[in-house]
Amino acid sequence: MPALAAPMAGRRRGGWSLAARNAAFGYVLMLPSILFFLVLIAYPLLQTFWISLHRMSTLTRQGEFVGLANYRALLESADFWGAFGQSLVWTVCCLALQMGLGIGFALVLNARLTFRPAARALVLFPYLLSTVVAVLVWQWLFNDMYGYLNYLIEEYGLSDGPVNWLGQSPNAMISTILVAGWKHFPFVTIAVLARLQGIPPALYDAARIDGASAWSRFWDITLPQLRPVLAMVIILRTIWDFKEFDLIFMMTGGGPRSSTETLPLLIYKEVFPKLSMGSGAAIAMVMLVIMVAFFWVYAGQYDREERARSR
């Protein structure tokens, strides 16, 4: 028998232990992410905060340090509170509409349909469409002079005169919410559908034998099984709806008379037409705080429930 090769006893490269070398390698792998985080997230965030403490022109980016004056002005401004309220209405209504449509369509598409593959592709369509194109199409549909919706309404005698879809409050907000609901519900559908297909069919068989009606089966099996994905979708959609800019901006520009002006549009108005970069930055910081607070409360709530269930 040949002698076994002697192990490389005590030969540590650079005198480092194996664990230390593994750890060092781990840090090296993390370095790019840390760098990206610092350059692309931490730095702009700190800079925005720094700008919000100045009275600064957008053009010169020069200005004096004013401390929290921009924040104080915000809290006293009717524009801010108006936009805040509109943001709330916008986010809640958009979310409700998107969740309702999204779950509804997912349930339909999960059923055995003849045209299921085609229907699945079609349902993605609004989500894939560029916002500019979608807005142009909807503006044409909504047009009070030659829009197709008003044509239909008159054709079927549903209203006395043409409806002013976008030029009147609260119509403008409602119309824009409808478009946002239509545009973004496919995201919810896709996420929910993926989960629905992962629910074992035997659970439904068992429930049928146990005496559960179709409604009970949805309530007792489908919905609890969807909970984790719904929690994720709600968080993402809330964040995205809350900071929605392009769709509202192109649809109504915030009007009529600021009735669809949400916080992102107010930031734009402060920073560009008004050239007041400092107060725009202050609104952005307030938005950030609101989102973080929402995230905190919501994630905490979900966590507590999950822990209570698993006990």
Partner: protein
Amino acid sequence: MAAITLNGIRKSYGPHTVVENLSIDVNRGEFLTLLGPSGCGKSTILRMIAGLDSPTDGGILFDGQRVNDVDPARRNVAMVFQSYALYPHMTVRQNLEYPLRKRGVPKARRAGLVDDVAAILRIGPLLERRSSQLSGGQQQRVALGRAMIRDPAVFLFDEPLSNLDATLRAHMRAEIIRLHLRLGKTMVYVTHDQIEAMTMSTRIAVLDGGRLLQLGTPDEVYARPATRFVAGFVGTPRMNFIPGALVQGDAGCVFRADGLTLDVPVPSLAPSGRQVVAGIRPQDLLPAEGGLPGRVTLLESTGQEVLVTAALGSQEVVMRLEDANGLRVGDTVGLAPRPGKLHLFDAESGERVGP
């Protein structure tokens, strides 16, 4: 308790027929096993009895009443699934209560029933655990409990033990047999495992390709398999098959195969020259002076028995002995079937020939 009648059941999915003209009477309180390889239609039959699938043709009767159009919830059946199908987001207690809740049983009575079932199945300490946190065996017990709790007329089992390891499977097998003795309910059990079928059943229905091949007690199915398929499917180690023909010998009919003459008297009613396959179970093949010469090619000892594989002409056969008696690979041993234990099947149809 209910008697189940399957009357000329056919089930097709488009052009594909899964179950063909099946008629079985399941007696009250009987433990009937549907045994067959995967894809033989046994689970589909069970699902039709449960009401989860509808037959394309034919009638399903419970105690003489046609139930084809009766909702699963109203058939008073309970089913145990291969995957257990426990509601993963509910606790064990909630799982057990679910069928009661859906039937409007009041809360106090529900609690009492849960305690009874938990005591029988010894799952009391698990009641407040979430079902997804249980081991396979524990989940299986809870699934049994959920089936028992509403005292159904019929229990249906869809390969309930196939996800368990061997020890646990043997244990749960005994548990289900005890449950049947205790409750005396009609039970229909689907499995591809012939050991389960043999040990648990009152009667076994052997299926292949959607057709019923044999319906009988475990002993009947084992001792007188109706077809070559049944003979090969039931019994471990598998029955030895030797293709050959029935020819006229000096003293009546003999079986002759490929250079071998199995000089065994077979019933004279078998027609001469007919192509047949002879089947001999490994324990019915004995070493004998002057038997057919077999060369030993493999010895497998399990401690309590020895499986001897021997080449017999161009055939390999397996013999089950209590003791190798000094046999070694390469030895030649004389082989003879135990008298009266030779099975003959038609080479074409696979049907049993003779008594």
